[in-house]
Every structure is written in C-alpha cells, then in structure tokens.
C-alpha cells in the first residue's frame, strides 16, 4: 500500500480508526431504512410498465378499499410547477421537470416512472394495493437512443422543450454546447497521422448497495421532517420544498448513515412522497425502494455516442482534435454532457480544437450524477484514440501523454490556464511503477494504460468545533460521510488544535443544526468542508489563546498554541494544556466553540492514470483482469487508507463499466435487467488486488494542499482495458461494455485464435 509522506504533520497522513467504525461493524449504525417510529405506515410506489405513454386516468377506489390502506397520492396532489430553468437550492433546474419525475404528470416517460404512491399499515399490504390501482395508458412509441431522438421527425418526449438553435420547433435536444479554439483545418493539415473513430457507451448505474429510502413525518403545525440516506440533506430540503410547494424553513432533513451514493443520492425520489403521504395520513411514512425500482427509476448515468477525429505529427505532437458528444439525459434534460465536453481534452495541451456536446432526452430514467459524471464516457473515447496515435508514432503511450500533457499554465479547453496540477507526475508514477516495469508474458494477454481528469468542486460548507470541559473537542458539519470523511474532519481538527485524534469526535448533523453544507459530491468534502473545519478549528484556537491570555494577564498575541499546549511566548509562565484551560472556560468568558462557513475557492483539479493487465479467452471473449495499478494526485492525503479506498473503489467501478455493466432495454423500452443478477457489478472473484499510488502535488488553493480524491479514479479504466484488449488481440473495441458477446464477435470478425477460426468456418 502506498504510504503518504507525513511531512511536518502529527495527525494528517496517519491512519487512525474511523470514529463511526465500531457502530458499523456491530450493526448499530442507523441507515435510512433502519428508522422506525410509533404508528409508522409503509409506502410503495406504482410505476409505469410503459416507456412512453399518455396517462388517461388513474382509479384508486379498489386499492383504498383494501384493509390497511390509508392513502393514495398522484401528481394531482402536487402543485403545478413552472416550466422554466431556475435556481432551486444550489442547482439550476426546471421545477416542473423535477416534480414530473417524482410523480408523472399527464405522461409516463420511462419504464418505472412513478405514477402513484400508497401508504398502508404494512409494506406487503401497500404492495398488494398497487395491484388494485387502475391506470388507463395510451402507449406511445419509445425513443431509446440519442440517434433516434435526434432524427428529424422523431417522436417528441417533452412538447414544450426548445433549444436556442431550433427556435420554436419542438425537439429532444435540450442543449448544444461548443468549445472552439485555433484553426482546426490547419491543425489537421499539419498532422502526419489522423485517427477517426466512433464510440458507443451503455447507460450504467452507480450500483450503491443501499436502496433509496425515506421516512417522512408531517406535523399538525405544518413542520415536516425527513430521515433519509442522502449525499445532500440541504438539497433534499430545498428540492422537496420546491416539489411540495412549502417554504424551505418548514422542512428539516436528518441525514442517516448512507449506504453508498456515488452521485446517485444527490437528488430526490421518495423524500417528498414520504412527507406528502404523512401529511395525508397524519402518521410517519417510510418508503424504501426495491433493487428493481433503484435500477428502473433512480438516476443512472448517460449512455453516449462520441465521435473523435484527432491528429498528430510523426514525432508525437497532437496538432488538432475534434470531438462530438451526444449523451442520453433520460426523460428530462440534464445529462453530464457539459462535463464530458469539458473533460475530454483536459489532460492535453492542444492548440486547435472543436468540441460539440448535445444533451438529448430519451425514454429512460432521468440521469443523475455518477462519480466524475460524463468524464468516463469521454475518456473511453479519447484515451483509446490517444493510444492509437501513440502507436502510429511508435512512442510509448505514457511518454506520448507526457509529451502532450497539461501542466501549470496550459490553457484549458474551457479557457483559463491551469494552476499547479499533477498530470505529468501522475503519468510518471505509473511509468515508474513496479507494475508497468514488470514484463507481461503468456498468450492472449495485454497491458493497457489510460488517464483521466476531473474538476473537483468547491461550493458551500459550514463547520463548528466545540471545546468540551475536559479538553476534548467535537467537530460538527452537515456533509454526509460516504467514505470515511468524518475521520478526515476529526484529523484536521486534531492537527490544528494539537489534540490526539481520539480526543476529537466528528459528527454529521441535520439541516437545522448547522449552516448550509452543499452536497457530498464533486470530491468536495475533504476540500471544501475540510477548509471550513480547518478555519473553525483555527477560530477555536484563537479563542483558546485569548482565554489563556486572560488567565495570564497577557495579550492574546503573546500566547501561542503548540501541540495542544498554550505557551506564553516569553515563557514567563508554565505552559497550560487545553485540558487545563478547558476547565476554566466558564470563568474566562464561557464556552469556546469555533465556527466557519465558506463558499470554497481554489479548487484543485485531479488526474488519475491506470495500468491494467488482462487475459482474454479467445474462444468465449471473456476477459480476466490479472493486475491493476492506479495512480492519482490527491494533493494531500489526510487519511491515506481512505484515499487508497477511493482509488480502489473508483477503479473497481470503472472496471465493471468496462466489462459487463449495462442497461439492457427491449424494443418496447422495458428494462430487462432489473436486479443484481443481470446488472453485473464486479464480485470479489472478478477483481485482483488493486495497487494504488497516491501522488501528492499540493493544491495551492487549500490550506493543507487537499484536492479531493473521490471521483477521478473511475475515469481511466474502460479505456485502459480497451487498450489492453488491443495489445492482446490487435482489436480496437469501440463499444462499452466490452462483454464476452461483443468481444467474441469482434474476435470472430477479426479472425483470431485457431479454435475460433475453425468455429468461424462452420
């Protein structure tokens, strides 16, 4: 395991046991579905069996007669929201679309689209009640791919959808964005080699193990509380308030422990329904999705079509690149095509480029964020083309990347030049890794490399650091902990105050008990919330110095805090520990609690590079991952174990995306693989140990140099695997996933492998 250099730090860079760990290994930690209240009812959601249909009528009479059923709600019970893009909480979105995704209004737009919700005295009764609700559908032809959706005369999903270019014509293209620089034609003229390819990637799901859940309690006084597993309690609050048409201040969201999110738990599905059903029944209502509901009706990430034309000189300089990206948004606008377009060329310094991105609605679930949203699709395409260009030049693929790689001062595709970044260092870490240096022998084996970029995010965070009467401290934030971030918050606090890590207790609290903390996403918690925690701890330290100064009758600036001890600079009095001072806080002005709220600036982007060895069975097309190493620039690793965990987890998801994960729809638009049996995320038999290299190029924009590590490691693996397949077989795969049937088909077409040739001859 990679050790991060500890530098001059005492706590940062060490590997303490996480504070919430024991509760999680003994089964005491409370996740959303673990909450229960007296008199609680259970809700279930009726979902459309059609991908595209007009809802003529809904009749719930029979369901309401079933003993134990308390209420049935439909979109008629939600206020009509305005059809325009506006600021809701931190997100720019269309309130009408948001509401229509919670409960279909007039039209069902995908298989699994919520149509009605029931509350009953048991989940079984609620489920039986769903069978008794009569919905009259007029089925319409489904539009399942961006190609179909963009065709002239295509069936229209949203009659009011318009985009700037097509004026007042109804369309399925919600947005076209473009980035242009230099002279593309001249760039291609200067190229000795040009590669042009088209790529397709399947819609995939985050695959968090814990299904969505929510318990809603609506009080007679008009106050509502939601207990749920979410990455963004403050988003759940603002979005639910928007959907229900109540003031934000009327809703409190209590974030439960969360069983994985990866971006998928940054929006709302069940949360407003739990409050709506509670408001109608006067009782607490719990809803929990089944796995099939999660796959059919939560927010996977986009399938996409990406076309790339790129050229380079014989000596390996990229002269021009043109990228065309079309992403499935799902039933409502909002695919991550913007991020795809802005990340696709980010690792490279290219003078002449043109990137076009299209956000396209199709009869699939509305996409949500998934770990570096949009970037993995894009990297699969560009990193395969880069590999091909490097090969044409006869240059090592990593050297090729170093030659063309972005560094400090390189103009980003989106314009502004990079500050200090660690792309080159990350690529070189793989180049110098034992893995890349080791020989790979044996038939049907190949080694592939690829790299990836992600912006990371700042946004708003708040933190409070309380000094307790015994000299211990607690650090409170509103950022749900999805991967061990509580430990990092405690470590930052302990580092600043000079306390042992075991004397700091980290908490994640509810939306009423702390200032705004934006979503746990964008790899922002250790960066942005970490900044707030750092400043809150500094604030507490400042107050402690003042108190000591008062005790010693000195000026605060004559007191310093070192390693948990308060010292008079002139050493005229014996140093005093925080513990000693804590006992005297009441007599020196009362409790000490440090506070900070930030809208974090100075975000430092992250890069990852992955090296993977595969072995392919030429008879079946099945790929085995033999070895995998990932390097990533963390800026500064606060808790190296959990940084490694992020690298390994993202890599595993990227490998699953590469090999077998995909949404399979039939021609009528029904999702065929609605469970973990056929939506195939990797099991531990499918993966090797994942070797990690934590690169640390400090982010100048953060007091501790942190960049954020949560996302970018998912980006390179699909391209790395594709490049490895090429080395093993001479075949360039251009479609994800690279599942056995697809790979075998390519092999047979390519006519490789003796057995396969004889098989092909038949």
């Amino acid at each position: 395991m990679a050790e991060s250099t500890n530098g001059h730090y005492k706590v940062i860079g060490t590997r303490p046991i996480r504070h919430d760990g024991v509760d999680k290994v003994i089964g005491r930690a409370k996740y959303g579905a673990d909450y229960a209240f007296p008199g609680m009812l259970f809700g279930k959601v009726l979902r459309s069996p059609h991908a595209h249909a007009i809802i003529r009528s809904i009749n719930a009479e029979k369901a309401l007669k079933l003993p134990g059923v308390k209420a049935v709600v439909t979109s008629a019970d939600l206020p009509e929201a305005e059809d325009k893009t506006e600021q809701v909480g931190e997100a720019a979105l269309n309130p009408r679309h948001l509401s229509m995704n919670i409960l279909a209004r007039g039209k069902a737009l995908y298989d699994g689209h919520a149509v009605a919700a029931v509350a009953a005295t048991s989940p079984h009764i609620a489920e039986e009640a769903l069978r008794l609700i009569e919905v009259d559908y007029e089925v319409l032809p489904p539009v399942m791919t961006v190609e179909e959706a963009m065709k002239p005369g295509a069936e229209i999903l949203l009659p009011n959808l318009r985009n700037k270019e097509e004026g007042d014509n109804p369309t399925n293209v919600a947005q076209h964005l473009q980035f242009k620089r230099g002279d593309l034609e001249a760039g291609f003229r200067a190229a000795d080699f040009i590669v042009e390819r088209e790529f397709h990637t399947a819609m995939v799901h985050q695959g968090y193990i814990e299904p969505h859940n929510a318990v809603g309690i609506w009080n007679a006084d008009g106050q509502g509380t939601i207990y749920c597993s979410t990455q963004g309690p403050f988003e759940v609050r603002s979005l639910s308030a928007q959907v229900l048409g109540v003031p934000v201040g009327k809703i409190k969201v209590v974030p439960a422990e969360i069983g994985g999110g990866f971006g998928g738990k940054t929006t709302i599905y069940l949360e407003p329904l739990s409050l709506l059903l509670s408001r109608h029944t006067g009782r607490p209502v719990k809803l929990v999705m089944t796995r099939s509901e999660v796959l059919r009706a939560s927010g996977p990430t986009s399938g996409s079509t990406i076309k790339i034309k790129a050229g380079c000189t014989r000596d390996g300089r990229i002269t021009a690149a043109q990228c065309w990206l079309a992403y499935e948004a799902g039933a409502f606008p909002g695919s991550p095509v913007g991020a795809g377009a802005m990340t696709i060329l980010a690792p490279y310094a290219i003078e002449n480029l043109l990137v076009d991105g299209y956000d396209v609605v199709v009869n699939r679930p509305k996409t949500a964020a998934y770990r570096a949203p949009g970037a993995t699709n894009a990297a699969f395409a560009i990193e395969t083309v880069i590999d091909e260009l490097a090969e044409k030049c006869g240059i090592d693929p990593l050297d090729f990347r170093v030659m063309n790689g972005s560094k400090e001062g390189t103009a980003q595709l989106i314009g502004p030049p990079y500050r200090r970044i660690g792309y080159i260092e990350t690529v070189e870490a793989i180049k110098n890794s034992p893995h890349y240096k080791s020989p790979l022998t044996g038939p049907n084996r190949g080694r592939g490399v690829a790299t990836g970029f992600w912006f990371n995010a700042g946004m708003q965070s708040s933190a409070v650091v309380n000094i307790h009467s015994d000299g211990t401290a607690s650090v409170v934030t509103g950022s749900p902990d999805i991967g061990g971030s509580r430990a990092s918050m405690a470590m930052i606090t302990a580092e600043v105050l000079g306390l042992p890590i075991t004397d700091v207790r980290p908490l994640v609290t509810d939306t009423d008990s702390i200032g705004q903390c934006d979503v746990t996403g964008g790899s922002r918690v250790t960066f942005a919330t970490g900044t707030a925690v750092y400043e809150a701890a500094q604030d507490a330290a400042r107050q402690l110095r003042e108190r000591a100064a008062r005790v010693w009758e000195k000026k605060p600036e004559d007191v310093e805090l070192r390693d948990g001890m308060l010292h008079a600079k002139d050493a005229s009095v014996a140093p005093m520990s925080i513990k000693q001072l804590a006992g005297r806080l009441a007599r020196t002005g009362g409790p000490v609690s440090g506070r900070a709220s930030v809208n974090a600036r100075g975000v430092g982007p992250a890069f990852a590079a992955t090296c993977v060895d595969i072995e392919i069975d030429p008879d079946t097309g099945k790929i085995q991952i033999l070895r995998c190493t990932v390097a990533q620039d963390a800026g500064k690793a606060i808790h190296p174990s959990y940084v490694e965990g992020q690298l390994q987890g993202g890599t595993a998801q990227g490998l699953g995306w590469a090999l077998n994960e995909e949404y399979v729809y039939d021609t009528e638009g029904h999702l065929r693989n609605t469970g973990f049996l056929d939506y195939r995320i990797p099991t531990c038999l499918d993966l090797p140990m994942i070797e990690t290299i934590v690169v640390e190029v400090p982010n100048p924009g953060h007091p501790l140099g942190v960049r954020g590590v949560g996302e970018v490691s998912i980006v390179p693996p699909p391209a790395a695997v594709a490049n490895a397949i090429y080395r093993a077989t001479g075949i360039r795969m251009t479609e994800l996933p690279m599942s056995p049937p697809r790979v075998l088909k390519a092999i047979l077409k390519h006519g490789r492998g003796q057995e396969v040739q004889s098989a092909a001859a038949r």
């Binding site: 893009t85 997100a91 700037k164 964020a369 946004m459 790899s523």
Partner: protein
C-alpha cells in the same frame, strides 16, 4: 481594460469576435458593458438580475462564487462557462 472571452455559440452576437474588452469593476458591470456593446447579450447571462445557475464565471482562472458581485481587476480575463455541478 478587462477582457471577456466569448463562448463560441454566443459569438454570433459579437460578430464572431472571441475577445471583447470591457470597462468594469465587477461582473455586474462586465455584463452591463457587454449589453451596451451588443444589445441582447445580457439576456443570455442573467436571470432575475444575477448570473444564471446554468452558467459559471471564471475570473483569472478562479471560479467565481459571488455571481454579479465578484470583483474584476482592470487586467482580468473573464470566461462564461456552462456550470458543472461537482459530482451531480
């Protein structure tokens, strides 16, 4: 004078010009000057008097957080970009 780099799809409003100089102390004045030079431009950037949620503003390589209130220096480079919700 501060310089605004115009997004390629909005260059039709600036007669194809990629870089436009503006006189401004903050983003509010940047937008106002753009509107003065190219009537109708502001509508693409503003929503109820502030920068649209779907747009991010980069000032000298730093993502702005203050919308129209963000200050700009006389030699600042300003980019209007599609907003990326980090991880969402």
């Amino acid at each position: 004078m501060a310089t605004v780099i115009i997004p390629s799809l909005l260059r039709k409003l600036t007669g194809g010009r990629e870089r436009v100089d503006v006189v401004a102390k903050n983003i509010r004045e940047v937008v106002a000057d753009l509107e003065r030079q190219f009537p109708g431009f502001a509508a693409h950037l503003l929503d109820d008097g502030d920068i649209k949620g779907s747009i991010a503003v980069s000032i000298d390589g730093e993502m702005g957080t203050g919308g129209v209130l963000d200050r700009v220096r006389p030699d600042s480079e300003i980019y209007f970009l599609p907003a990326i919700g980090g991880g969402r």
